[in-house]
Symmetry: C2
């Protein structure tokens, strides 16, 4: 028998090395997306696959299972709730890993690589039938995976879950279709009507409110992003910003946080808002409990869910950068940068930051339409997994549903059901986290305003740090000590609902129209 | 009994994975030296140490030894000389790895880390006694290492070597003190006199020939470096350039070549010449036999020695970028970039590119003084390893010898025996490769001129690609099929001597003075 301290220390060392390997993987990924020459891609793929193998081996090996069991056996009556929860989370992940047939894991990896390659080609040529067989194969394998994972879940005493729910657990622990119905139904009921109202008002006001097209040079946009990050606490001692084809952020080590910028011609707010968004992710990462040996490299030092992660990035993007007070502060800078004023004042500038115009493309959607893009994907994911919708029928169904929900109809599948990368890699269960991020962000904002007064007023006084301070105290240090639902309830005092988000959105639309 | 094909294929796969791990290490190193935030350094150190352990394990494990033995056993009478040589090189490296006491390897790694940290502090404060104990410890451990390596060498039937020779084999296979005496003695005999002559001439011509100080903005220097690389075949599809505190180049994969630039205030040629130099390294790397499965990942696909590597970088730096014809081509561009002409013509510009002024610092030395910096270090390395010189006596001996060889005397140890990083990491045996690079470069240039006519004329006609083509055909594809000495002999028709370098230098000095 080993002492509790020794068993835990052995396990901690194992987890530490796993983190090292994981962060090496992230470093290769960052290099790949910022500086890797095109022809280096094949070799980089081999490097990443090698590390993925090593990581999977470490996380499912018999030796690791013994370390976890030994640590569990060493728990005595005095063990802290944090220690118990760390071991519980490790045990759940281990069981999920170990119930998977290694053969399935290999076939999935191959199908993902093939799916991604075919999807790229299919999207380029707007040719869904080219991608359809790969999507069918991925759905087939994920159904198989869900079946194997369900065995592990039953073994751990979980209530039975649908396939979709089982697959979504890795992104959103505790998520259920029941909860999503409660949250998404009000969105489906209210948002389409709001969209129609905004469209009608826009029709009435006509050209009067139209803002002439404008654009900013890349280096000017880059400098505005730099200024934004500087004001929001970007510390070059532990942060780094580069350019990449798609904006993203990632953590490469406990003191190494990366963020990237992309400039989109004709979309001069794109880089600025994406910078705000990605910095929200990175502030959360920087605020996670990492410094203390009790947390890092244990699970409690991680983000609790994708929705909570997204709530933090959306908080900075929508609650701060797209707010009226913030727009008033940045209006003179954009005016100076552009050397012109196409907005006719700060209110026009704010409206430009919030077009509230439904479109076909999810990643270009604003607060008004975004959640409906997700509702649609969530519906189809479930229908596809349960074989209620045939893969070949997806394009027509997609286009019909887009029209119902958002009032727009794709001209081809590249701007329809082929637009997102997720399904090409077999990621089913991920999309709802994006919409949940909006809801969580809104509910946290209400709680924050109870403590700090209106956020707009704080921003108007330049007290952004007070806002960050609240998040840093109330949200970020929770790590995985609670799941997303508990986090919201603990911080806001009530279970998550769609109410705060809809109330916020209606108020904002009124002010934008006024 | 396994078939020869299978044994070789198993070994090839093992080597392939070793390459993947090695290149992951290089990627982390590149990121570290270009973008890593300062506070990320500790974690990066842990990542690198983890990979170093994995690499050492792969290269010395019993499993690997069995793979090599199996492949050797599978060699039949028909086996190609290339295959035999690949296995021979692997066997030699394996024997060297395996004769080392793992405990010594660990102690060395620690002493290197400690030595590097102390050296940094000692250099900052020009305080040699602070570093002296670490240097003594490193010498002690390297002596021990040389003793263990000697056992492996004897086992392989090598003739006995001195400690210095044994340690230098990993950088310069086949190197001997006898050979270096033959090569360095003429340098010691001729270079100091040449230096005195240049100094005297400079004294006589006085202020007339002095070029007023000038400098270029960073972005202007950066653009000149970009132009240079573009002209010399920089392919963004497989190459990438970034900024770093020290210029370097490295290969991250078979189709992924990186080079960095540093701008030094007050030294407007520094970045330009360093770019030429590093590109020489990278052209060699790109020209190594990598495309063919028979070579990569086998040893024959590697550079054969540090001296040959350095000869290629020096060829581009000194034979091309510092040449008169090249200066004439670039003079108008520098004039345009500066918006002034401090040189009073192309000849003055060429002279400015070739100051031929001995100084205290090796990395700032030009063709005239460089080799003497190396002669001095080589003498002291041997004396220290054989305990003929005590560590505490090094600073005084260094300063005395600098004055004899180069006519300059350090004002403190930071610009004296503390200037180089190598010894702080226990790298003994490396320095001579730098000077050999000059000699090899000169001898290859003579051979090239026999084939192509005067290089200056080729450059004058903008036929740089013809020069590269010759190297690409005659030098780069040899990989490790031959050692450095054989390479020189095969390409130039004669064993390496100091003659071509001295002849070249004397000619150049005359033309510079004229």
């Amino acid at each position: 028998m080993s002492t509790p301290g020794k068993a835990l220390e052995r396990l901690r060392q194992h987890l530490h090395t796993t983190r090292l390997l994981g962060s090496i993987h992230s470093t290769l990924y960052y290099d790949q997306n910022t500086v890797l020459p095109a022809e280096g891609a094949t070799w980089r793929g081999e490097q990443l696959a090698l590390l993925a193998c090593q990581l999977h081996e470490r996380q499912s090996s018999e030796a690791y299972a013994e370390l976890v069991a030994e640590a569990e056996a060493s728990l005595d009556a005095d063990a802290s709730p944090e220690r118990r929860r760390n071991l519980l989370l490790l045990r759940r992940e281990l069981e999920r890993q170990r119930c998977l047939d290694p053969d399935l894991v290999g076939r999935l990896a191959q199908a993902q690589a093939r799916g991604y390659a075919l999807w790229q080609e299919a999207r380029r040529s707007a040719d869904f039938p080219l991608f359809a067989p790969a999507l069918s194969e991925l759905l087939h394998l994920r159904r198989e995976e869900a079946g194997q994972l369900a065995v592990a879940e039953q073994g751990m005493g979980d209530l039975p879950r649908s396939r979709w729910e089982t697959l979504a657990q890795r992104f959103e622990p505790g998520i259920s279709e029941h909860l999503l119905e409660d949250l998404f139904t009000p969105l489906q009921q209210r948002l389409p009507a709001l969209i129609r109202r905004v469209q009608e008002e826009r029709g009435r006001s006509g050209a009067v409110s139209a803002i002439p097209a404008w654009d900013l040079a890349e280096e000017v946009q880059d400098d505005l992003c730099r200024q934004l990050l500087e004001e929001w606490g970007f510390d070059p001692g532990r942060c780094r910003r580069d350019r990449s084809p798609h904006p993203f952020s990632c953590t490469l080590g406990p003191q190494d946080f990366r963020i990237t910028t992309r400039m989109v011609p004709g979309q001069p707010f794109s880089a600025f808002l994406a910078t705000a968004h990605e910095w929200g992710h990175l502030l959360y990462e920087q605020g996670l409990p990492r410094g203390d040996d009790h947390w890092f490299p244990w699970p409690l030092g991680e983000a609790t869910s994708m929705a909570v992660h997204e709530s933090q990035s959306l908080f900075l993007e929508c609650r701060l950068a797209r707010s009226q007070a913030f727009a008033a502060r940045w209006y003179p800078r954009f005016q100076g940068a552009l050397g012109a004023d196409p907005w006719g004042g700060a209110h026009g500038f704010w409206r430009d930051l919030n077009p509230m115009r439904p479109g076909l493309i999810r990643v270009e959607a604003d607060e008004l339409g975004y959640a409906l893009h997700i509702v649609l994907r969530y519906e189809f994911e479930r229908a596809l997994l349960e074989s209620e919708l045939q893969v070949n029928d997806l394009p027509a169904a997609w286009n019909r549903r887009m029209e119902e929900l958002l009032g727009v109809r794709p001209g081809n599948d590249a701007e329809g059901c082929l637009q997102d990368v997720h399904w090409s890699e077999g990621l089913f269960g991920y999309f709802p986290s994006y919409a949940l991020g909006h809801l969580v962000s809104a509910q946290l904002a209400e709680a924050m305003e109870r403590d700090l007064g209106p956020i707009e007023e704080r921003l108007g006084r330049g007290e952004d740090q007070t806002v960050f301070g609240w998040l840093a105290e109330r949200v970020w240090p929770l790590g995985r000590s609670v799941e997303a639902g508990e986090l919201v309830e603990r911080v806001s005092g009530a279970p998550l609902t769609a109410g705060p988000f809809l109330t916020y959105l209606e108020g904002k639309l009124e002010r934008l129209a006024g």
